[in-house]
Subunit: 206 residues, 2 copies
Amino acid sequence: MSDVIDRLHDTVRFRLSHPLVQLEASGRHLHLSRADADRLLGPGVSLTPVNDLSQPGQFTCAERIKVTGPKGEFPALVIIGPERRESQVELSATDALFLGVKPPLRLSGDLAGTPGVRLTGPAGSVDLDHGVIIAQRHIHMHPNYATRHGLRDRQVVSVRVWSQRGVTFNNVIVRLSPDFATYMHIDYDEANACGFRKGMLGSVIV
Amino acid sequence: MSDVIDRLHDTVRFRLSHPLVQLEASGRHLHLSRADADRLLGPGVSLTPVNDLSQPGQFTCAERIKVTGPKGEFPALVIIGPERRESQVELSATDALFLGVKPPLRLSGDLAGTPGVRLTGPAGSVDLDHGVIIAQRHIHMHPNYATRHGLRDRQVVSVRVWSQRGVTFNNVIVRLSPDFATYMHIDYDEANACGFRKGMLGSVIV
């Protein structure tokens, strides 16, 4: 019993003494370049926002895209808008195995040397020759949060979450921008592995 | 650069100063009671060993079982033999979502209050009223290893693995038996979340 109280005490002290960050689990999705949106959805067609996401200006779209790999397909993958410089497909390792592609672990936008996949929309198809990644776990961080806790852009930190499946995620990349709301993003494999629940907080360990 | 060397030094020191344990990823599978094997495969039918597993006496079987849940099915799930006291289906959270069942996180054999699922084999069907779990991460540990490193049965430890997706698994249960070979078992969600590769070693943290 005193063992349990000791452990509870340690846990509370740990959580009080480390910065907290809210976790979000990102399902598979894609971003489209303006040129690919033209080819897939029709020239000049606007993406239709459905839900605002936690990152300011980002939204899920009414339009869906079929994504086809060598071994499987997702018939209606979610698009996250607005358009980006390059099209990008973000999968979990489970999703990648299902499609039959072998994407590397990368931060968003770092697409050199990544595999491609076929995209199909109502207006046509695009064979991406690159753009598929497994998103490396990261924290979108507002500079105010970073200043308050002495953190910096591109810093590698760990984040501990408490649950029956408690995990400390190591190699978490801090990404700083005044356009960000402070959230840590993990994929569904990571969410399942740590007993993720909506609103879950993690402790940032430097 | 000196930052990199410092980190490398810390990592090497950490790995040298903690007991190592080899990880194995368990895919979805089931165990059958003798009575359920009779109903599914035919009275008195023996399970046919195909591959020996790392745990002494445990093997995958040539026979396969269809597992049906409210939302999906696995047409040919692997059986791990020999027979057990109770039938038990072990899924990842991803698998459970696919089947439409909500199993709790449990150690093997702890089946009270767990959901059931339909099993179908060449000789018939069985509606399990309980037996589906998500396996709680654990270390099968031989007593010699435990003695050498001062660990005990049911101890809760953490295990850190190094990879681009490095993770420290907390709440890992030590299970001691002279019948065990020393291996840590994780499921495929956890394997994907930590960048698992065959032969991967983890550092045991008390």
